[in-house]
Amino acid sequence: MRIRLITILAAVAILILIIELVRRRKLKEEYSLLWVLTAALLVVLSIWYGLLVKVTHLIGGTVPSSTLFFFGLVFVVSLLLHFSVRISLLERRITALVQEIGLLTLESRSDGPDVADTQRGGPSDASTN
């Protein structure tokens, strides 16, 4: 019974930590979703042991703890994938911003409008990035 109490406490602690991080604006709401779901699932599974056994039978496992590990791994992998997607997005934004700095710097240095300078101010290209 002691192990059950420990897992329940740990899961609740994680849940509180995440909510506290969101409250202090250290974690954005959208990133917290996956964490909150996992923590909530942990709480449920540690209280309701029968569910874990049931799920273990359902997926054809033998030991309930390995079911926990399996879902833990699925969670970690999906979180990492989520981060990779985020990093790609951030990289694209940084690229666009750095390009903008370069373009604006040149624009501010060049004196007088260009001969073909008719479409200036039309940010049709930038909006797609």
Binding site: I94, V98, G102, S124, N129
Partner: protein, 182 residues
């Protein structure tokens, strides 16, 4: 000259130039690598090709006339040969030098390149295939290139990653629904 505060990669640097051209309202864009490989003397003939052949992009090819003046490293040669073959097959036209940085284009192509379709690292055969699928007409002309002064700007290529990236990029380009521009 546009100075970028951070090194964004070859493709992103080119894209900055396209953005400049689009915003300034230019109608044509000519591009060449600044490592001494490309001579600007080729540009007028390439613009003429663009006009007379009704093309949207004209690429200066090192391999079109086989006089063997250009000798890349073995690994690069294999890569270029392979992806030229792949691009030629998909585009049903003879492509010999998809990595060439000596190009001229009409402004709709540059505008197209200002979107997220353009890679920040190395535009290659995948971009030619994308152009073809988007309805732009691509032509090649024979040019002479000198060996790069000092380190080539393409020397950052890691051949294994390059192979992987190109196959994946071509695959996803073919999987995407084409948006016809030209």
């Amino acid at each position: 000259m546009i100075r970028l505060p951070v090194n964004l990669g070859y493709g992103a640097a080119l894209q900055t130039g396209y953005k400049w051209a689009v915003r300034r309202g230019y109608l044509l864009v000519g591009q060449l690598d600044a490592d001494g490989q490309h001579s600007p003397e080729h540009l007028p003939a390439m613009f003429e090709e663009l006009r007379s052949k009704q093309a949207d992009v004209v690429i200066g090819s090192r391999f079109l006339d086989r006089d063997g003046h250009y000798r890349p490293s073995a690994a690069r040669k294999v890569g270029i040969a392979l992806f030229s073959r792949v691009a030629s097959l998909i585009m049903r036209q003879h492509i010999t030098d998809p990595t060439s940085g000596l190009q001229v284009m009409r402004i709709p192509v540059a505008r197209f390149f200002c979107t997220e379709v353009y890679p920040s690292d190395y535009p290659d055969a995948d971009i030619l295939i994308l152009l073809h699928r988007s309805g732009f007409r691509v032509r090649e002309v024979a040019v002479q290139m000198s060996p790069p002064v000092g380190k080539s700007m393409h020397s950052g290529h890691h051949s294994l990653y390059y192979m992987y990236k190109m196959w994946l990029s071509i695959l996803v380009t073919l999987l995407r629904r084409p948006i016809v521009h030209g």
